[in-house]
């Protein structure tokens, strides 16, 4: 290995030459020392070979990452896609965040930075692989020119170009600067999947070392000279307003510097430490105006949504044949109403953002799933040009949809920081985090299905009613003012079951309760409605739930293969005594996922989930070990919600406040999770599938279907904590 004497950048603490095996690569480790160095602030100039690749003279290969690392492995898998085609030595790869302001000033050179909808790999794999191939082409072309040989006599591998006939070699680092000046080829051939050397391998994650030693990699860890800390109190009435506050008791408390209103919705205390700010916040006298929030309660909302199920203003998401007519002619009709509650996200890192506003510009340190949007939100909030905003990206202490479109925490931090000269780190209490979320919507569903005299399923009609998250967060995605995404899991591209007469419609009923994207989004509640109802239909027909589904999938080989795989791997139907199984299948984010859950319910009604078997077809699996972790994570996230998750409202306020009454799954409740891949490649789809969310939606229905198998009780509302699974003896 060559020596390392010409390093010019100091952003990364270890040299490529001493990095050892890829397992020990830790590109962020130099940030371990308390300081302010934002991740990705490599200001020294290293020439780019395409926007995505920079190679230093010592072969250190910086690969830009536009999407966010929030635990799903983006800092590893996205560079893998580039490195695959670049044919660099993976040990030299150093991932680095794209800076949002640079992306803006360079006309979105790095594309979309959004990290949501399981989009990161499937939404960028084509251009990331292409960039790697382009850079490789440029390096080979440079070497060929120096040797004065044809390009096709040169091969690239492990960061070295070799002229095959003469065995001459050039390291990437030796020719990178010159290669960067060559034209970027428009068309490059991408490798056939059979040629992949990185994709499909469990390449060790690059971020785990920092996370095992407590490195300051999160936005909440930022420390700036002269920084103040802010603790906030937002109006506890959802949709309510700040009327007045009395800071006189607070302003003399230790460390307290400012008490400021945040627009007309919150009060912030700024102090020399966060604890001082929080203590003073607790002592504030604040008068709130409940406004619209006053009469709001879970029961009033439920009544509204229930009436909505019968309303005639449904937006139809999908219609095949005439389900109403077929139902009226059916020999047997089955009806059931379901309900899914509001859910909070509870990222382990509570909402936080640091901002410094001065001289018509702003600098922001953010845990964001959508850095472009953070920048634009801060710009708009402060009324300054986007070019005057710098956003530093940090790894997220959990995302799950909370840190994407809403950006309420970024606006709040900017609104606080604009009122003082100094930088301000805002950290919400857990109570604020739970009571001011953008919740997964509470949704009610009514389903009707009809069988003909021969027992064939001839009709299925679905109505869902609840609030739309798109109205508040992404009106550009509405269709004629209607949120058809509320029909997901019943649409053309995400429900493979074939029924001759089918209809799904959404009745929109909005309120002042903020709603937003939760892991699995609309597929999470609609998957529950759909897959439990299918189980009810199987039961009515006295058929095995797996075989009943199979019969509806005769023309859907992709979903059928996943369903068959999970049934086989879980030994469907052959359980030990006292163990009961439930099965569910959900198509979303261009992936197909099925799960079989093994449970038992003891005499007191105590449920234990022993095992969850997952089968997933995501077309291609980039990093199996990371996908396995994503399946474990999806199961844990969904199971916590199935067992306990419920945000309720009374008199306009959220009634839950911390992990004692908004419970998360704990170690002792975690089932064994097995994951199997049914990778169909490009057989059914030229696009790839996502993996961050698809493991979530099947879990609730699989558990509830298993509960039915064990107890003969249909769970038509969640969470399970509200149900007595065994009748008291």
């Amino acid at each position: 290995m060559h020596t390392n004497t010409t390093r010019r950048t100091f952003t990364f603490g270890i040299s490529a030459a001493t990095a050892g095996l890829a397992a020990s690569a830790h590109p962020l480790s130099s940030l371990a020392a308390p300081g302010n160095a934002p991740i990705g602030a490599n200001k020294e100039f290293t020439p780019e070979i395409t926007a995505w690749v920079k190679i230093e003279p010592d072969d250190t290969t910086i690969i830009m990452v536009a999407r966010s690392e929030m635990g799903q492995g983006n800092f590893t898998t996205l560079p893998m896609l580039v490195a695959e085609e670049l044919d660099c030595d993976w040990r030299f790869v150093r991932p680095q965040y794209v800076e949002p302001n640079e992306n803006l000033s360079r006309g979105n050179a790095w594309g979309d930075m959004t990290t949501a909808a399981s989009i990161s790999i499937r939404g960028s794999q084509s251009y990331l692989r292409k960039a790697g191939a382009q850079a490789r082409y440029m390096l080979i072309a440079e070497a060929a020119e120096r040797w004065q040989v044809p390009r096709d006599e040169c091969v690239a591998r492990d960061s070295v170009v070799t002229h095959a006939p003469t065995r001459r070699t050039l390291r990437y680092g030796e020719i990178a600067e010159a290669a960067a000046n060559r034209p970027i080829p428009a068309d490059v051939r991408l490798k056939h999947p059979d040629e992949w050397r990185l994709i499909g391998q469990s390449i060790p994650r690059v971020d785990v070392r920092d996370k095992a030693v407590g490195s300051p990699i999160y936005a909440i860890d930022v420390r700036l000279p002269d920084m103040l800390f802010a603790s906030v109190w937002a109006c506890p009435f959802l949709g309510g307003r700040l009327r007045s506050f009395d800071a006189s008791q607070v302003i003399g408390m230790p460390g307290v510097r400012h008490v400021v209103a945040v627009e007309d919705t919150a009060v912030a205390v700024l102090a020399d430490s966060w604890w001082q700010a929080k203590k003073a916040r607790d002592a504030l006298l604040i008068i709130w105006d409940p406004v619209a929030g006053k009469g709001l309660s879970t029961q009033t909302l439920r009544d509204t949504y229930r009436r909505g199920l019968d309303a005639d203003d449904a937006a139809i998401g999908r219609r095949i044949g005439d389900s109403s007519k077929a139902l009226s002619q059916a020999a047997l009709v089955v009806r059931a109403d379901y309900e899914a509650p509001y859910l909070a996200h509870t990222t382990m890192e509570p909402q936080t953002c640091t901002a410094h506003v001065r001289d018509g510009s702003a600098e922001v340190w953010a845990p964001t799933q959508d850095a472009d949007r953070t920048l634009l939100n801060v710009s708009k909030t402060l009324g300054i040009p986007a070019s005057k905003v710098i956003v530093h990206k940090h790894h997220l202490g959990g995302g799950f949809g909370r840190r994407g479109l809403a950006q309420d925490w970024a606006r709040m931090a900017a609104n606080i920081a604009r009122q003082v000269e100094r930088p301000v780190k805002m950290i919400w209490t857990r109570e604020e985090d739970i009571q001011h979320d953008y919740y997964r919507p509470m949704v009610l569903a009514r389903q009707s299905a009809g069988f003909d005299a021969a027992g064939n399923l001839i009709a299925w009609k679905v109505r869902v009613c609840g609030p739309s998250m798109l109205v508040g967060l992404s009106p550009d995605r509405l269709t004629n003012g209607q949120d058809l995404e509320m029909c997901n899991a019943f649409q053309n591209d995400d429900m493979a079951y074939r029924v001759p007469n089918f209809e799904v419609g959404y009745v929109m009923r909005n309120s002042s309760v903020p709603v937003g994207f939760w892991r699995g989004v609309n597929h999470s509640q609609n998957g529950y409605f759909r897959e439990c109802f299918i189980d009810e239909l199987a039961h009515v027909r006295d058929q095995d739930p797996y075989l009943f589904r199979r019969n509806l999938l005769s023309e859907a080989p992709r979903s059928l293969a996943v369903l068959d795989e999970v049934a086989k791997r879980a030994n469907w139907g052959r359980t030990a005594k006292g163990i009961f199984q439930g099965i569910a299948l959900v198509e979303c984010y261009n992936s197909v996922t099925a799960q079989v859950v093994d449970i038992s319910v003891d005499d007191t009604g105590q449920l234990t989930v022993h095992r969850v078997v997952c089968a997933i077809d995501a077309c291609y699996i980039v990093n199996p070990n990371i996908v396995e972790a994503q399946m474990q994570g999806a199961v844990a996230y969904a199971l916590g919600a199935v067992l306990y998750g419920e945000i309720t409202l009374q008199d306009g306020k959220v009634q839950q406040s911390n992990f004692h009454d908004y419970r998360a799954l704990r170690m002792n409740e975690m089932p064994q999770v097995e994951t199997y891949f049914v990778s169909s490649g490009d057989k059914y789809s030229k696009d790839w599938g996502g993996v961050g969310e698809p493991g979530t939606p099947p879990l609730a229905p699989a558990v509830c279907n298993a509960v039915f198998a064990a107890t003969r009780k249909r769970i038509r509302s969640l969470p399970l904590a509200n149900h007595q699974l065994r009748s008291p003896q």
């Binding site: 799903q72 030693v213 430490s273 966060w274 382990m348 202490g397 474990q632 170690m667």
Partner: protein, 163 residues
């Protein structure tokens, strides 16, 4: 106030006595590896060792800690990585990683008291530490790996904080 020994160094806090250890560590000392999750002892994110025992630093006021020895994730091992940190890396336990400092400190306290924990022992010790990413299976595997290695090598490892 009497000094508190933090990671081997005697300190005299400038913060008020009712300041939770968590915020003293993070805001006064800049030891941000100990993380805030709930402020109520419900999630375990902020777990540190006080005289070798796992303690929720969000609930412990610094005025109660005079004369105590506090160890944080930054100094769990005096030299290099603690075997648990190595196992966390090798088995790729972390996802978002935010809770993992607390998980590791809790696991280190478990192993120092019980070098060969059963699954039930692990559940009992670790169920106070929430991980929203669902890394529990790998946490369990990492703890078992370290227990096995230490028994095999029979060279008993003493966490820095218990010395």
């Amino acid at each position: 106030m009497t000094d508190i020994t933090i990671n081997g160094i005697p300190r005299r806090p400038a913060s008020e006595g009712d300041t939770p250890l968590l915020w003293y560590l993070r805001d006064e000392l800049g030891l941000t590896g100990t993380r805030f999750g709930c402020g109520a002892g419900l999630c375990g994110c902020c777990t540190v060792h006080v005289d070798g025992k796992a303690v929720r630093s969000c609930l412990k006021r610094i005025e109660e800690l005079g004369g105590s020895n506090v160890t944080t994730i930054e100094q769990l091992s005096a030299n290099g990585l603690h075997p648990l940190q190595q196992a966390w890396i090798d088995l790729e336990v972390p996802q978002c990683g935010y809770c993992q400092s607390g998980q590791i400190m809790q696991a280190a306290a478990l192993l120092s008291e019980n070098p060969d924990p059963s699954d039930a022992d692990i559940d009992a010790a670790m169920s106070g530490n929430i991980c929203r990413c669902g890394t529990y299976p790998r946490i369990r595997a990492a703890i078992k790996r370290v227990a096995k290695l230490q028994i095999k090598s029979s060279a008993s490892f003493t966490p820095n904080s218990a010395k």
